[in-house]
């Protein structure tokens, strides 16, 4: 590998550039991506979703310089399966997604723990405690535990880099995928990250024993046994890992100690100067939690305060593991708020420290929720839908996930549900099956391609009396204009290809001046007593702007 190549490739995407001689200022997401490139991956796969999107966005433009294949995928399940294929033939691979994306990929994920992972497979999954941009705040550590795979939980951007690199070796050593669990504040926080030398990708090699990848029941029973045997080795690894450590233990018993994991440690450190008692501290960055270290901490204290981002995973585990004389405090006991992300204040309160003096505005302040952009085609589509549904007070409009979910809020209030990626079509069918008319599903083009072909097939099979309105803006808009799995022009063919009646597959432009036309088409198709699919087409206004400025920049040439 040529000299200096690591430094060149480590150049940050940051908005200003790199302060002379300092390491790059990277988002936690970007640190994961850089680490994967440096760990010698052969491929990276992802589906966009806040707060994970920037992992792949950082990786993709650098991939070819490293000889790495980088593909946005149709959804998280297909991303994970492609990663499995790469691992099976010996390549290291990164697959990234947001926490609810892992639900979509759950089938390959859980079963990937049973096959004998060959090339290191690292799953970077970004949880969103506090639900900044998500429908729930599920904790992926639970799923790593469920699958029986190690989970590394970085507490800062440097650890995001170091742990991701290390995770590939763990994966190959234990023949299981390794989860790197991130949370929003780490994903979207920048700090300087020191990188180390890049490794070259490994040559492809098929697994030595074909039975290692065939989960026929007879073979799967053997592999299940191997996975259970591996648990002891994994626990030995986490017990020996420097990511887990016990500090500040005085040589005499004290009242309480603290257990932190991931970024919760930062909030403890932020308040430590005001704590005027010895405070033994066990930090866990590598799961499963080493029981001996918990017992060692417990031997010096009566009480353990557990600080962790997400669900009370460690709290519940150690409550079961410690002698009954110990008090374990955390989210379950109300010492830490049961919901929402951790903050320096929440941890301050849990430590029993008085709040800092705060200013506040006497003036009541209005909220400022996000809105659809001015000029957004979804605005015209929702206006048309409103007109078409006038007089249909019993209509059900099932919504979906994307920018257009904002259509549930004033002024449109056009959607009545938002549950998970692609739920709209199945839910509209369910409502239609219950006899509700009209039953409408509103879904974006990317969300449709993510996971909605199969429910559309069901609606075709039953010729369900429902209307599917696909808002086709040609991009994955909400996460920052990633490409959709298929271009605009192919969407109609896809819908027709699954057998929808061509007379009731309509393609209509979405435009402020053509709202009445779109409204009339929706009205006609609502009246049709069977399945209709309407493609309402216009490019995302942000994508138009971005393309224009890119074209202008190309025209102007380098300045």
């Amino acid at each position: 590998m040529p000299e200096g190549i690591v430094g060149d490739r480590a150049a940050p995407l940051g908005p200003v550039g790199n302060a002379a001689g300092r390491p790059p200022l990277l988002l936690g997401d970007e640190a994961v991506a850089l680490a994967a490139l440096h760990a010698g991956i052969s491929a990276a796969y992802a589906y966009p979703g806040t707060p994970s999107t920037e992992i792949f966005e950082y990786l993709e433009p650098r991939a070819s310089a490293f000889g790495v294949v980088a593909h946005w995928c149709a959804n998280e399940k297909t991303a994970f399966e492609q990663a499995l294929g790469m691992s099976m033939v010996g390549g290291r691979v990164l697959v990234s997604m947001k926490h609810v994306g892992l639900n979509v990929a759950m089938d390959p994920f859980l079963n990937s723990a049973l096959v004998r992972i060959h090339g290191g497979l690292v799953l970077a999954v970004a949880d969103d405690p506090g639900m900044h941009s998500s429908q729930n705040e599920q904790d992926s550590r639970v799923l790593a535990d469920f699958a029986g795979v190690p989970c590394l939980e970085p507490g800062n951007q440097q650890e995001a880099y170091d742990m991701t690199r290390e995770a590939f070796a763990w994966s190959e050593r234990h023949h299981v995928p390794v989860m790197v669990r991130l949370v929003t504040r780490l994903c979207h926080g920048r700090a300087e990250v020191r990188a180390s030398d890049a490794l070259a990708p490994l040559p492809a090699s098929k697994p030595s024993d074909a039975r290692d990848w065939i989960l026929l029941p007879g073979y799967a029973r053997r592999l299940r046994g191997l996975l259970l045997e591996a648990q002891e080795d994994i626990r030995a690894d986490t017990a020996a890992s420097h990511w887990n450590y016990l500090e500040a233990v005085p040589p005499y018993p004290v009242r309480r100690g603290v257990l932190t994991s991931g970024i919760a440690r930062n909030y403890l450190l932020e308040n430590l100067e005001d704590v005027d008692e010895p405070l033994p501290h066990l930090h866990v960055g590598a799961h499963p939690i080493p029981h001996d270290m918990v017992l060692e901490l417990a031997s010096q204290v009566d009480e353990v305060l557990v600080l962790e981002e997400g669900e009370p995973v460690l709290e519940r585990r150690i409550r079961g593991a410690l002698p009954a004389l110990h008090v374990v405090r955390g989210r379950d006991t109300g010492d830490v708020p049961a919901t929402g992300e951790l903050t320096p204040e929440a941890v301050r309160g849990a430590l029993g420290l008085p709040p800092r003096r705060e200013l506040s505005s006497a003036l009541p302040l209005p909220g400022r929720p996000p809105q659809l952009c001015q000029g957004c085609p979804h605005r015209d589509a929702f206006q048309a839908l409103g007109i078409a549904l006038e007089g249909h007070d019993d209509a059900v409009v099932a919504g979906d996930i994307g920018c257009y979910t904002l259509g549930a809020l004033p002024p449109f209030e056009a959607l009545e549900s938002c549950v998970c990626m692609g739920a709209s079509i199945g839910m509209a069918k369910g409502a239609s099956d219950a006899g509700v008319r009209p039953a409408v599903a509103v879904i974006g083009d990317s969300t449709f391609l993510h996971s909605r072909l199969t429910p559309l097939v069901a609606a075709v099979a039953h010729d369900t009396d429902m209307t599917v309105l696909i808002l086709d803006n040609g991009t994955v808009a909400m996460t920052g204009q990633q490409p959709t799995a298929l271009p605009h022009s192919r969407l109609e063919a896809v819908v027709l290809g699954v057998g929808a009646d061509p007379d009731h597959v309509r393609v209509v432009p979405t435009h402020p001046r053509r709202v009445p036309e779109l409204a009339a088409v929706i009205r006609q198709e609502i009246a049709h007593p069977g399945l209709s699919v309407i493609l309402a087409v216009r490019e995302c206004i942000e994508a138009v702007r971005r393309n224009k400025s890119a074209a202008k920049a190309a025209e102007d040439g380098p300045s």
Partner: protein, 194 residues
């Protein structure tokens, strides 16, 4: 040598660009820098915030604790008030006085400005006209950087050099516009409000 800055504004105003320029200056001043942003839904014309922490030692938390920020730097007056609980009593608010009224229940501007006026330390800058005079209505974030320059743990000229360098990559005209905007903000902050 500690600066904990809550940057605030409305999607599209250039909050993250301002945060990036400040972070670069902090790094050049050999401070440890942590810069937190919120992406995703917050971009669609909603409230946007960034936390920037700079210290001559390690920085643990990505989030600034309530009651501890040294500065609120806001491109919009209501957004400046929104983050007040994060400000230390000794901290300063540097904000534009120009409202972004993209919500139906925006309070009367006079009330907003009065609330800002009651704060112990506030620098309120009429940033939009200064940005336009400098040559671009989009430069109000840089006007505010100029206004904040006197309250930072590094020299104003270091921050100005970062502005110059960033915008130089986008052409001479933008560089000059933004340097004028920076200087106008700096001058406005030096004059007591009245």
């Amino acid at each position: 040598m500690r600066a904990d800055i809550v940057l605030a504004g409305v999607g599209g105003q250039g909050v993250l660009t301002a945060a990036g320029i400040l972070a670069e200056a902090g790094r050049r001043a050999h401070l440890t820098v942590k810069q937190g942003e919120l992406h995703g839904m917050s971009q669609r014309g909603g409230a946007v915030t960034a936390n920037l922490r700079m210290f001559d030692g390690p920085v643990a938390s990505d989030l600034i604790a309530r009651g501890s920020a040294t500065m609120i730097l806001s491109l919009e007056p209501v957004e400046a008030l929104r983050w007040l609980p994060y400000l230390a009593y000794s901290g300063v608010v540097v904000t534009s006085s120009n409202p972004v009224e993209n919500i139906p229940d925006y309070p009367p501007l006079a009330d907003v400005l009065e609330a800002l006026g009651r704060l112990p330390h506030a620098v309120v800058v009429d940033a939009d006209p200064l940005a336009r005079q400098a040559g671009s209505g989009h430069a109000n974030n840089v006007v505010l950087l100029g206004a904040a320059a006197g309250f930072l743990p590094f020299p104003a000229k270091l921050l100005r050099a970062c502005v110059e360098e960033l915008f130089a990559t986008r052409g001479e005209r933008l560089r000059d516009v933004n340097l004028r905007a920076f200087d106008a903000g700096q001058a406005a902050a030096a004059v007591p409000a009245g």
